[in-house]
Amino acid sequence: MRRLAWLWIFVVAVVGLVLPVSAADKPVRGYESLGVVAGKQGGRLTMILGDSPPSFFYYGVIDSNLQALSQHLYDGLVEYNYRTYELEPALAEKWTISKDGRLYTFYLRRDVKWQDGRDFTADDVVFTFDQIVTNPEARAGDAGAFMVGGQRVRFEKVDTYTVRLTLPRAAPATLQYMRLYIMPKHKLLPHSVEGGAKPVDINSAWPTTVDPREVIGTGPFRLQAYVPGQKVTLVRNPRYWKTDAGGMRLPYLNQIELLIVRDPEQQVAQFLAGNVGQLNLSGAQFPDLKSRQQAGAPFKVISSRTLFGSPPHLAFNFDARNPELARLFSDLRWRQAMQMAVNRQRIIDDVYNGLAELPGHGVAPISSWYFDTRSFLGKFDLQGAARALDELGLRTGPDGVRQLQSGRPLEFTLTYGTDSAVWPPIATILQNDLKQIGVKVNLQGILSRTLLSTGLSGNYEALLLAFGDQPDPELRKPIWQPGGALYYWHRTTQPATPGGEPNFAAMQPWERQVYDIWETGGTTVSRPQRKALYDKWQVLFAQNLPVIMIAKPMAVGAIQNRYGNYLYSLGVIPGYNPVPLIFQK
């Protein structure tokens, strides 16, 4: 990581010699392989916002629309490289990490201005983390990320442009959290404890009725106007601290409009009518739009492999209410048989229209942390699955349904989300294939938003769900570490009290192994050592199938031909925002 930072300093230095850019600016370069070219200044891009933002204060509400809006307004100290997904300097020009991994020093970029002209300094950084992010009453804060081993991380201002973090012990994921957006102290002080307010008051900063001039960041665009329920308008920040490869100041676009459109079909209609410049698509929408493109429509449909995005999985409840099913589901041979009965190719072809790939195990195949586990996925083989079930002693009854040892029919309920283009077809395909090997699946459709809470409540037998992939495995620890808060398929591993020791007695041997890997990984500083640990975890995952991964969807997006430099982005990942590169031809 440090090597990369030094590399950047080197690049900046070289560029600084060649081109007349301020030392504070960050040139965005090295993306020729992604098709990025030099753009021109001007123009306007209209995009979709799925609903009205509930607030303009990023840390006040967890809301995807607010996140999509905020990425244009703010920056973090570090951000992702668009190609490698590695962290690189953003508001921090460089950083150092002490050998023991406990001391982080961030050297801030000089001459960065808030959009109202004030200087951006270390005070803003310390204020953001001290008063907002780690305020436990902030509804979208992240106090938990800065509690290491039960103690708080300390933030200090060393000088105007230097900030130091002191950790109780090494926690390499901390750097990931430095993507969090930095907020202006001079605007938000009155809402903070430091400014004399109650801790909970921070949530009421910047409601959507606020004067847009009050909402300022360091980002490429600033808020200009909001028409409730209809549109958010952003204008170019002429003082932004990034330039393109040729030294021209970014962003290229003069204006971004975010049109508030809830209904997915209405979003498509607005795009087809040309009112909207860019649209994220699902695999099911691809053939229609792609064939319109082939027929000469003025837009391009692009599909690309992506790190982000949520690969669906099939989970069996190890603690199902029916003890006979619980015993069966905890048996690896059952889950192996089920994996053989998952027709991944058909799901990829028919549900995703071919726009998906074989899944990784907890890590996206495009990620540098990925370990190739494809050989563990096996082939779709119903006969093999049937044989495996025979060996488990599940004999077929007279009505073609297998029987459990007790003589009851082998049937289970599969819970899935009805309001999605993905869950219903996957559920139906599974039901159909399993029926052929004598396993009766009863489908139970619920609203997608309640899938996870159903999983966490333990009140299900089998469940289809997806968790998003992240650039660093550590960010998904609560999901994949046995006993973690979101490890929902084996709830008995949960600690008796929140934050306490997990229930090791309930863990299967491989789960204990995985648990230990996560514990070690969370404090290991060396990247190669961490990689080795997470490789081992991915293999254990693929062999023991806590859940059965189904597919990794590609990102599909459409953009009108009048725009250039479109890199696909889901738009809600802090630290990954390629919009400043987009230009109007």
Binding site: P287, S291, D350, T418, D419, P425, A427, I429, N432, L443
Partner: protein, 360 residues
Amino acid sequence: MTEAVPAVPSPPSSVWRRFRRSGPGVISAGILLLLYAAALLAPFLAPYSLVEQHPDLIHQPPQRVHIIRDGRLVRPFIYPMVRKRDPITFVASFAEDRSRPLPIQLFERGDTYSLFGARMDRHLFGVKGGTLFLLGTDAFGRCLLSRILVGSQVSLTVGVVGVAISFAIGIIVGGVSGYYAGVLDTLIQRLIEILLSIPRLPILLALATVIPAAWPSGYVYVGIVAVLSLIGWAGLARVIRGQVIAMRQLEYVTAARASGLRDLRIILRHIMPNLSSYLIVTATLALPGYILGESALSFLGLGVKEPMASWGLLLRDAQNFRALRLYPWLLAPGALIVISVMAFNFVGDALRDAADLQSV
């Protein structure tokens, strides 16, 4: 306030005679009879089961039935379809395999089903050694015609069951309220006013979200019918009360009371029959509301769920631009919703005219 004027019912025989003279009414009644008969015999009429998937024939357009082969008239036959996918757009296209004509067989064997308690495996028609999708297939290669037929069992009964429930409540509550008057009447009237003051669709949605997700689809069906009819009874009860109040004064009712008949018996046996034509007309005109209500709930994903089917649920697959452009046959359930609702309205209006009940 003005009280409802008691309907002056015409004798049923003359109503029937006049109804038969209404062209659209009779045609619509015929259509409805056909639809209900089809729903009753759905598993027999449907060539495939509700859930049978054909992964190779996803989104197949309706198949053409041929009757002329080599210039000669032959018994109806089809050609099997072959699916190809455009390598770039992934749009599927289908072509007929002309080398293999498959005659359509009557009483063809298919999967087993139970009809009127008997287990059968004969279907009205089908083909051997291939597939026959007269209305095309959906995203899983399931036969749309079969799904529409089986789905009609839900869509066409939601209304009947719902109307039955709301009428049962409406008649009893309205009858009791009108018959007894006094404090009970006032209380019931207040309750009805409150129920009528709650806007219909929002409370319908609120109640639909209460139906537990864990319920199997059969229960969800019952839940939806209950929700729809719970909202429907209040208006009816109010009108019936008005009619009962007016009728209470009529001679034969006073006579029945004098002869010591039980009150409920008087309401049900002496007052209601006189309202029968009124009730029938109201019921006919109320039915479409249930069909449309079910489709609205399905549109929002709050209606009946897979693996059950209803027209509203099937129509959901067509409510997007890709379907309108690439798979327009998926709109067929929508056409059936429109046809059945129109037919109910035509029949209801014709009945109303025939019974001379302009106030309904």
